[in-house]
Symmetry: C2
Subunit: 572 residues, 2 copies
């Protein structure tokens, strides 16, 4: 008799309206990704759990949001803001104040699952125009009311946390239009609150929507794509999953318009200019501390999915795969778009997740000597002009072969693609049963990659029953990133925060960048001064002080710019 | 009887030692490029001159430098600087004070040819170490002594002009070493004063010099290559002739070390990082106003000249050629390295200069209907991996054909290459006989290119007997540059400056960037505030004030940052 497969009752319905869960749940309310059976079995083994553990949810956040944090703004201030923004565009109810002050950190999820809340903004404004934003910023500046900006809501470092109360400006409600598609310049001008899918959809359908000659793509596909805004990409310095080819968000912006307490300006829109330090670049990555990004002109690219070439390899070791990745990045035939190398442990889990574990392919790999927990997966695709993408694939194959990689077709990439935005949805399922998934990531030069990988992993794996999967997914001629995913039992916020701070310490000590593309927020900010050095932090603080002399823009430790920068967590 | 060809007695010997000419002459003292016969004949026609005009030089600057500008520093200040830098590394003689305060503007040449000098620094220091520079900056800051930095000396906008006297630090004398070649990271770390050829030579010969596995190139070849420094490239935002492929100087720097009055720091050396606004980028283009760039880590590229593919085309019109250039820049098969499109008039002169005018090729072109003063030359080459460069050439040919271009082989590029640094040497020959060559340039998006081209040309051509040659030579997906070369009779500084200001006005009014890669200096600075807007200028001024509170770094109007910013010229 075949053994009965027991699966937990993974959630299949959208969160209860106005519940805590509806706030912390990643992605679309009706979007789910359940651990497949192989992964579920692996988790039980790794965490020493049996099926009975999964009989009922541990916490779930199904309760309706309710807290007693008074609105600290004065009545006349609220009245004035209502007058500026329109009463219909303002929310002061508990649910929305919490919703728009909350990002997607694991701590927030742990706390909200138990109905514990932290600081929230006093009033939520959905501005309908730049004029409204300008008036709000002006008024808040005179009144010294803090202003927080909410783009798509996917911050994983408390970038949205309204540490000082005040106003949260929600950009994606109304400030979400495509303003101009300029085919000649290969640019699109948008309001900052436009969400990834809306932008990409408009560009893909440019022929129909704008009577354009070609279809286009924005080239920026972060894992948070579905719930992030174009403005958010720029102010937090995101990277998309095709960044090795298209560039990081930083590279994609020709011009930005900002409303700051010190005034409103649009940076110069030239592809090249030698007119002193580039204000367009000075503003990138300010994480809402310099002002409100209201409009941006982005580069666009021809949409040519028909030219995409996929490839996958298995390597004997991580070192071999990275050596191939480096040689590809320095070989000057152009870069792959998707370009991912998983370390031993991620490969082990990934092969289960993508349904390769135990397949004929797996057997072929094992026969050829690619051993579990040593072998490493390399997958990717090339985009661009047809001959270009073919040549990228050809050269990638040649280099991978040289470094001991076995070609395993484009199948792994094909398997990976549909889940590219969905993998994080796993976290709610697992958290329902007391298991956490979180990530931290770093940028490295080639000559320091293995040191950072080894030392950070050493710290993470020193914690009992902890899975640590690592990949490199953004490649440059000079280096790449390391993206650490850790899975562990939920031991409460205090326990988790201590662990997380240890990981950040390990990244810093081993010489990695504090963040490759998640940004800094209020979470990693306490490490900023040591990382950049006092002289460089003071340059950032100088610009901050000039543009925002009353420290109303995202105050409370964001980016390490003000005196509220400290290690803190909501509930200790 | 064949008509006797009469040529002027073009100079063939290095300038007299310590003469004015030895200061203003472009490039190597023993380097010359004479107008060829066709060009000489063309110039006589255009300027309505006969051979008798070329019987003797009008001005030549052969006189020995002599002026009576007292050193304004106090004796004890000089003594202290001598103690810091070493007496042997200091010059206070007239010749060197003038030499190191002088760049390569046409005004400086006009004036120095008549022995007219402007402000000069009081003392020239050739620092031997960062420690010396640090001490000099500290001391000058306490004493409020201005500090100017001289890299390679090729400024064309009074970037080196010591408007306020003080100290000039010459970087290329001792601060010119390669510190580290990092093959793994594909980087080279150098002292800022290293000159282009020394850097490139070290990289090309990395196997012998550094026991490296590969040969490398820096990928940056501005026309001033022979007499510009790596540090200068970055602080003035230069672009090389292969920038369409390799990137502008801005793109080539991973990290920089600065000594400023507010402290010394090295920017983070990561290929990707999301830790707030990038100080590495904030410092680029500061033109010596924020501090002294002492060390930099540059990206390098594999040196593979064997893969270079050359191509050339003739187009019916400038519009056709630009349309092809735009389509190439947006087609996503990679970019050509050299990528140049000459307008009608530049093509006309260029065909003479490169010896194509009157050749069989010329006849073939004319037969096919490519008419003089309408037809436009397009030339280029691709670099990188072998299949990549072949595909770039193949796709370029396909697109050019589509836009009416006729393939004229790689011959024009081959003819252009040897003169790539030599063309500016022409200016001394012509100026000896009262004819000026100068240039101004701008960055444009595609949708404004023809407006800028037409309007700036209209202004230039409104001046009687003025040649105006224009090309685009740095291409991006979003646009290109326009490089205006004008040739005219020398009517004195006052006349010239009025004309030059008119050209800058025309660039501004038509919507071009103030400069694409020459930088701003003190010459174009008066237009900066209008160009960037007050809000953005104030951001730059804020950073300046923070890093250099006493305004000792390149004071006197550089970049428009201080109150000395004004339209001025040496002699009116």
């Amino acid at each position: 008799m075949a053994k009965k497969i027991i699966e937990p009752a993974w959630r299949e319905s959208a969160p209860v309206e106005k519940s805590y869960r509806s706030i912390f749940k990643w992605g679309a309310p009706e979007g789910f990704k359940h651990p497949n059976h192989k992964l579920f079995e692996e988790i039980k083994i790794q965490f020493n759990l049996d099926d009975s553990h999964f009989a009922s949810e541990k916490t779930n956040g199904d309760e309706i949001v309710s807290f007693k944090k008074p609105v600290k703004l004065k009545k006349e201030q609220i009245a004035r803001l209502e007058k500026i923004a329109g009463k219909e565009n303002i929310q002061i109810d508990e649910y929305n104040r919490l919703k728009y002050s909350t990002g997607k950190t694991v701590e927030e999820a742990i706390n909200l699952r138990s109905g514990k809340i932290s600081t929230v903004s006093d009033i939520v404004i959905h501005p309908i125009s730049e004029a409204v934003i300008s008036e709000v910023v002006k008024y808040c500046n005179t009144q010294k009311i803090p202003v927080y900006v909410y783009g798509g809501g996917s911050s994983v470092n408390f970038g949205l946390k309204a540490s000082k109360g005040g106003v949260t400006l929600v950009m994606n409600t109304h400030m979400n239009k495509v303003l101009e598609l300029n085919e000649l310049n290969h640019t699109v001008t948008v309001q900052a609150g436009i969400m990834g899918p809306d932008l990409e959809n408009a560009l893909n359908n440019a022929r129909e929507k704008f009577n354009a000659k070609n279809a286009y793509t924005c080239g920026h596909f972060p894992q948070s794509f579905e719930y992030s805004s174009a403005g958010g990409w720029i102010v937090t310095l995101g990277s998309g999953q095709g960044s090795s080819y298209y560039g990081d968000a930083y590279d994609l912006v020709l011009s930005q318009k900002y409303i700051t307490p010190a005034g409103t300006f649009t940076t110069l829109a030239y592809p090249g200019t030698a007119t002193g330090p580039k204000v367009n670049d000075i503003m990138k990555g300010n994480e809402g501390t310099f002002g409100v990004l209201v409009e941006l002109t982005l580069k666009i690219f021809k949409h040519m999915p028909e030219n995409r070439e996929r490839f996958g390899f298995i390597f004997p070791t991580f070192q071999d795969a990275i050596n191939a990745g480096r040689e590809i990045s320095q070989a000057e035939f152009g870069m792959p778009a998707v370009f991912r190398i998983s370390d031993e442990e991620e490969t082990h889990i990934g092969l289960k997740l993508y349904g390769i574990d135990g397949s004929i392919l797996d057997k072929a790999m094992q026969l050829r000597g690619f051993k579990p927990m040593q072998r490493c997966l390399f997958l990717g695709s090339s985009e661009g002009e047809k001959n270009f993408t073919k040549n990228v694939k050809k050269q990638v194959k040649k280099i991978c072969k040289k470094h001991g990689g076995m070609y395993i077709t484009g199948f792994p990439t094909k398997m990976w693609e549909p889940g590219r935005y969905k993998d994080p949805y796993l976290r709610e399922d697992l958290h329902d049963y007391g298991i956490l998934i979180d990530t931290l990531e770093t940028g490295v030069c080639w000559d320091n990659l293995h040191k950072v990988h080894t030392e950070v992993r050493k710290f993470i794996k020193a914690r009992p029953e902890t899975i640590c999967m690592t990949h490199s997914s953004h490649f440059y001629s000079q280096g790449t990133n390391l993206y650490f995913i850790f899975i562990m039992k939920d031991g409460g916020v205090k326990d988790y925060v201590k662990f997380q701070e240890g990981v950040i310490d390990a990244i810093c000590k081993s010489g990695g960048s504090l963040s490759h593309h998640h940004g800094v927020g209020k979470m990693i900010a306490p490490w900023m001064e040591e990382h950049l050095g006092k002289e460089q932090m003071n340059i950032l603080r100088t610009i901050k002080k000039h543009l925002d002399p009353n420290n109303i823009m995202n105050p409370g430790g964001q980016l390490g710019l003000d005196s509220d920068t400290k290690k803190w967590r909501d509930v200790k």
